[in-house]
């Protein structure tokens, strides 16, 4: 009697735990359904070709136009700029951490990276607006108050700790025996690092790059504060632009009634954002998984 009672409650617990785990799947489904329904409503009124290939984005002004390219190009400017900052610095720091730093230095630097990674994005936005932009203006006075360059630099600084940390993991996963083998053939530390360690850790580094790009695409507050709210099809980083994320914030700061076309643009833009980052994340996760299998 007591035995079956125990078994019964054990089963109930297991079901409860399963439901907790299933919430993550429900979340994903909810995201997809919410985005799909409203995007479908949006695409009933705006042809998909205009949405994806139109070069004018003015949903809040007359005449209204729903071409996504300016928002995409704005996002790309931020991604390229942030990558230029974060990827080289991130890899170089990771090389220093894994190949040169003593254990003591590592133990000091790793928490610093974590602190950098934990600073809220709104703080980075403040930093961009009040510190980086004025500095750029000293050298390039024609720079707008809101500009892509400043936001991109700050987004780069923001994803830098993640890049450094993931690349450091990738390099440290390269077996020490490979380094010994290379050193025993009379290689210098430069040759061991660039010709043996970095190539062996390449897929892990690549995965880190992909994740960093995904993060930069989804970054919101720093670009909202520093890059402006001008959907602008330009490659000039000194101009004001608007990213997909910043547009979403701009609309939701106003009071937009549900059901309107403007409300639906939120979901259509978010759907594109979600799809891009999802593809990048899946790619990065599968690269990383394969990489781990090689060395385990």
């Amino acid at each position: 009697m007591k035995q079956s009672h125990i078994r019964y409650s054990e089963k109930l617990l297991e079901i409860l735990f399963f439901l907790c785990a299933a919430i993550s799947v429900v979340t994903t489904i909810a995201v997809i359904v919410v985005l799909a329904v409203e995007t479908y409503g949006f695409l009933k009124q705006v042809p998909v070709t205009e949405f994806l290939f139109g070069t004018l984005w003015t949903p809040l002004l007359e005449p209204k136009s729903y071409g996504l390219l300016p928002l995409l190009s704005g996002t790309m400017l931020i991604v390229v700029g942030a990558s230029l900052v974060a990827l080289p610095i991130g890899v170089a720091s990771a090389v220093y951490l894994s190949e040169y730093a003593s254990d003591k230095t590592r133990r000091m630097l790793k928490p610093v990276l974590e602190v950098l990674a934990g600073i809220p994005t709104v703080v980075y936005g403040f930093f961009a607006l009040t510190f980086v932009t004025p500095i750029i203006k000293i050298f390039l006075p024609e720079t707008h108050v809101f500009n892509a360059a400043s936001a991109a630099i700050v987004v780069g600084i923001m994803v830098l700790p993640m890049v450094a940390s993931l690349c450091d993991d990738a390099l440290r996963a390269v077996p020490a025996s490979l380094r010994e083998g290379a050193y025993s053939l009379g290689a210098t530390s430069f040759e061991v690092t660039t010709r043996v360690v970095l190539p062996a850790g390449l897929s892990g580094i690549f995965a880190a790059f992909v994740l960093a790009i995904s993060r930069a695409i989804g970054e919101t507050m720093a670009v909202t504060l520093a890059a402006g709210a001008t959907p602008n099809l330009t490659l000039n980083p000194l101009e004001s632009i608007q990213t997909m994320t910043a547009y979403i914030v701009q609309v939701s700061l106003g009071d937009t009634p549900a059901g309107t076309l403007t409300y639906q643009t939120l979901f259509a833009v978010a759907a594109v954002l979600f799809l891009i980052t999802l593809v990048l994340n899946i790619a990065a996760n599968s690269i990383m998984k394969r990489f781990q299998e090689v060395y385990e």
């Binding site: 003593s102 077996p175 490979l178 010994e180 083998g181 025993s184 053939l185 009379g186 290689a187 190539p199």
Partner: protein, 252 residues
């Protein structure tokens, strides 16, 4: 014997090695003779790998590892030598095969390439693979990844990789410990051929192996050199009781 330095290529004199202050090798003096095989035997943890790794300064990478005494190679003290220059003259083969995740050809060519070799690389690669008795097995797939080879083949590839540098001395750190008996026998055969041209120092916990392949044997225990001499003497007529106990398998 200690005074006769003819034919000595590497002279280990009163060497102590410590890890963060803890002595792992104590006052070891030992000659390494040219074009001979010297075996270093002893129970695990006796400092034999530490001693071997000090001969091409691989211990440089271990924080807190310090060496006192002198190791004379030619007319230079190893402590003052350039480690990069040193390592291309003293090669090393490790306990576990550690080929680079590159092609077979690139593995062998890697050392000469970074050291600015400008001759015929294919010829050099073939020669090294021939010497390592691996050529016939891999000549049709030199561009295959080295990771596809079996463990024994990988270890012979690592030997070829060391030979491609045409070193004066090859250090081998228990090169057969991760291999099956057949692969082990092949590598022992290989050692016999190699000693025509190379000086070899081999660390092994396998006494039969030491007895079979080496001319000289050093027995280390707790970091102390207990006995050194002709292999035959050490195994059949040891001067020290501890050596006798060890080589006859009475302890360990």
């Amino acid at each position: 014997m200690q005074d006769d330095k003819t034919g000595v290529i590497l002279d280990i004199d009163d060497v102590c090695i410590s890890y963060s202050g803890e002595l792992a090798v104590r006052n070891v003096s030992l000659p390494i003779y040219e074009k001979k095989i010297t075996a270093i035997i002893g129970p695990s943890g006796c400092g034999k790998s530490t001693l071997l790794r000090s001969l091409n300064r691989m211990n440089d990478f271990i924080p807190g590892c310090e060496l006192t005494g002198t190791v004379t190679f030619g007319d230079v003290n190893l402590v003052n030598a350039d480690p990069v220059d040193l390592r291309r003259r003293i090669g090393m083969v490790f306990q576990r095969p550690n080929p680079f995740p590159k092609s077979i050809h690139r593995n062998v060519a890697w050392g000469p390439t970074i050291n600015g070799f400008s001759g015929d690389m294919d010829e050099r690669v073939e020669k090294a693979l021939q010497q390592a008795a691996l050529w016939d097995e891999v000549k049709d797939r030199l561009q295959d990844s080295a990771l596809n080879l079996s463990g024994g083949q990988q270890q012979r590839l690592c030997i070829a990789r060391a030979l491609a540098m045409e070193p004066e001395i090859i250090l081998m750190d228990e090169p057969c410990s991760a291999l099956d008996p057949v692969s082990t026998a092949r590598i022992e055969d290989l050692l016999f051929e190699l000693k025509e041209n190379y000086t070899i120092v081999i660390v092994t916990h396998n006494m039969q192996q030491a007895a079979r392949v080496s001319e000289y044997t050093a027995f280390l225990e707790n970091g102390v050199l207990v006995e050194y001499g002709d292999t035959e003497d050490v195994f059949t007529n040891p001067r020290n009781q501890r050596t006798e106990d060890y080589v006859t398998g009475r302890f360990g």
